[in-house]
């Protein structure tokens, strides 16, 4: 099991499977009860395609289910994004 500090994730770039940079990580939304990461809050690149992700103000929310890999970049697959569970 490998793990990563949340602070390391801040500012990391998000790319989709076709290699387009979507933006960078601003924050993360998690469930305080289970600790499950629900969404990544992304500061979108101005030229990035909006895709099918939800937006919240000037930020874009990417469900963590769409995340394929986290290393130097965060790779997301737009087709894998299932709607995040509703807030309690």
């Amino acid at each position: 099991m490998y793990s990563i500090f949340a602070s390391e994730l801040a500012g990391k770039e998000i790319v989709n499977v076709s290699g387009t940079v979507l933006g960078e990580v601003e924050n993360m939304i998690f469930d305080t009860k289970t600790g499950a990461v629900l969404d990544l809050v992304i500061k979108p690149d101005p030229e990035a395609p909006r895709g099918r992700f939800r937006t919240e103000g000037k930020f874009m929310l990417i469900p963590f289910a769409a995340v394929m890999a986290v290393k130097d970049y965060i790779v997301v697959d737009e087709n894998r994004s299932v709607p995040a569970p509703p807030a309690e």
């Binding site: 490998y2 793990s3 500090f5 949340a6 993360m28 939304i29 305080t32 600790g35 629900l38 995340v67």
Partner: protein, 85 residues
């Protein structure tokens, strides 16, 4: 409850018996499972952890509630090196 991870930072961590443990410095994420696996604490209570380290990491499953403070399970033995408290 949904919360932003940055809202965790700096929160004080207490055990369910009201003992101060430390302050949240960072969170540890398991990217494969998509869950938080632990919290990294700084400014730790030296009565609980009498080690020289700057901080400790507590597993997320010890956490009972997160609100204005973080509440965690009270464990008699924190790590190897504990004083009686």
């Amino acid at each position: 409850m949904r919360a932003e991870i940055t809202s965790l930072m700096g929160l004080e961590v207490y055990t369910q018996q009201g003992v101060f443990v430390g302050r949240v410095d960072d969170a540890l994420l398991d990217p494969e499972k998509g869950v938080l696996s632990g919290l990294a604490l700084g400014s730790i209570n030296r009565d609980l952890f009498n080690q020289k380290s700057r901080g400790v990491i507590i597993p997320y499953r010890w956490i009972m509630a997160i609100g204005d403070i973080v509440l965690m399970r009270h464990l008699k033995k924190h790590g190897k090196d504990t004083k009686r408290k």
